[in-house]
Amino acid sequence: MNGTIPAPTIEYGMLAPMLVVFGAAILGVLVEAFAPRYLRSAIHLPITLLSLLISFVLIVWQWVEGVPTKAAAMGAIAVDGPAMFIWGTILVLAFVSVLLIKDEGHFVGAAAAVPGSVEEEQALYEGAAHTEVYPLVLFAVGGMMLFPAANDLLIAFVGLEVMSLPLYLLCGLARRRRLLSQEAAMKYFLLGAFSSAFFLYGTAMIYGYANSLDLAKIGATLGAVGGQDMLLYIGGAMIGVGLLFKIGAAPFQAWKPDVYQGAPTPITALMASGTLIAAFGALLRVFWVALGGLDWNWRPVFYGVAILTMLGGAIFAITQTDIKRMLAYSSIAHGGFLLIGVIATGSAPAQNTSALSGILFYLVAYGFTTVGAFAVVTMVRDAGGEAWHLSRWAGLGKRSPLLAGVFAFFLLAFAGIPLTSGFFGKYAVFQAAVTGGALPLVIVGAVASAVAAFFYVRVIVLMFFSDPAADGPSVVLPSRGTAAVVGLAALATVVLGVFPQPVLDLAHSAAQSLFVR
């Protein structure tokens, strides 16, 4: 109790990008509280977009100024190369997702109203909209930024929750198919909370072992403390479970299809891109910085998990008849490919750099493509909302060749066909893995890619080579935002597929310094 507490220092400048996002989120809450209903979304949108933009600019500025080499906020948050790269990516993707979110009609007016009840009708009649979506998204984005930058297991846990909690809510806000949406929210919530409990217990065990939560300190104590290896192993395993859950790696992938399907599609887009990126960032950081000395133990496990994830995702996707579920399984499979990159790390810094930059590039490429794909999904609608069943997509190429073409292009990018971003992403990861000696894994990855290609191609077949149903879904005229999203995603997919060098360079220089220790 006695003794002085040195006043901590907080590098507000380094944390500014994150603080801007959180600040804007808080501002958004105030807008919710004080602005009149009819003005709210008009105020929210600029705040949200602007804050993401400012944050991005700050990151760029900081990048140009020089990447910090020391963790900020008393070692709690590491704003290093990879973190900044991940931040930038998340911000851009979040920006794009917000453009999707802004479209009317995705979110329910009164979430608590029972579907079909008087309250609901009244909310619809009044044109109520859940403008809380914007602050919630900002909070989620802030969490996504905090999670991979956390240099401390406690902060990682807080980041994990700040990221997840708003997403749980957002999942349940779909205007159409309310029950499905609510169910998705509940499943996501229960399983997410379950997994974060695992993460936390793992953290507790590691704390018991190392007497610190600082990743670098944990890394330093590996092997230095004797006799308590059991704590370390249990802790590492449980943290792994928590993180792998967020990634959606097998065998913790069960939530993904359900949640992706039930959530409002723009939110699915945000989750599929942002959450995955953030979770991978955190996974890499925790397992390199803190548990890097333990890689003899976790590497084989990850080996198995990666194989299971890739093959599981790809094979289960084949049986899907729902476009969103299919994309969810595809995201699982991609998680598996990314895990190959995690395993590709080795002892040599050069190898680590190439693996890390490969993963970073893959994340960018996949993020854009997936946002684009979900944006397309929002545009294909039936009377009851988006047309999810694959059979409804038959003949879309005839009905709306441009849209179907773009979607097919995204699918090809998912499949990793050359001249799309997906190819180089996969290539970068595979290459790192081969150099790192994980050739068998790469072969499995190639086989899984081939399997995965099957279901992507199947959708293309359906869209282009089947005749459209008479009462097929209509393709809505996209709003400017949605059109911009699709266009941007397509552009990114092309550009990254043809001239990946600039982004590769960026990823490389981000990965150059590796994680701050």
Partner: protein
């Protein structure tokens, strides 16, 4: 001495975990999750005692907050579902099957 607390915490965690897996009522599942979080807290505080550092206790604070936030959000979701379905059973929520 502290081992007993750790064993207790592990036990609570296990009870919570098993509860999540076998119980069908969403609220009960949720409470089991909270039990797990509190088991973590117990472990943290125990380790703080054992290692002679205060960090563990501070962490427990943070965990409490997170748990509280989780309660708020989780209950909101579950109650909404309950209002639409008049049931909080996880089994009834089965629209999202393959």
């Amino acid at each position: 001495m502290t081992t007993h607390y750790l064993v207790l915490s592990a036990l609570l965690f296990a009870i919570g975990g098993v509860g999540v897996l076998v119980r069908r009522n969403a609220i009960v599942v949720f409470m089991c999750v909270e039990l797990m979080l509190n088991a973590c807290n117990l472990a943290f505080v125990t380790f703080a005692r054992q290692n002679g550092s205060l960090d563990g206790q501070v962490i427990a604070f943070f965990v409490m907050i997170v748990a509280a936030a989780e309660v708020v959000i989780g209950l909101a979701i579950i109650v909404t579902i309950f209002r639409t379905r008049r049931s909080a059973s996880v089994d009834d929520a089965s629209l999202l099957k393959h």
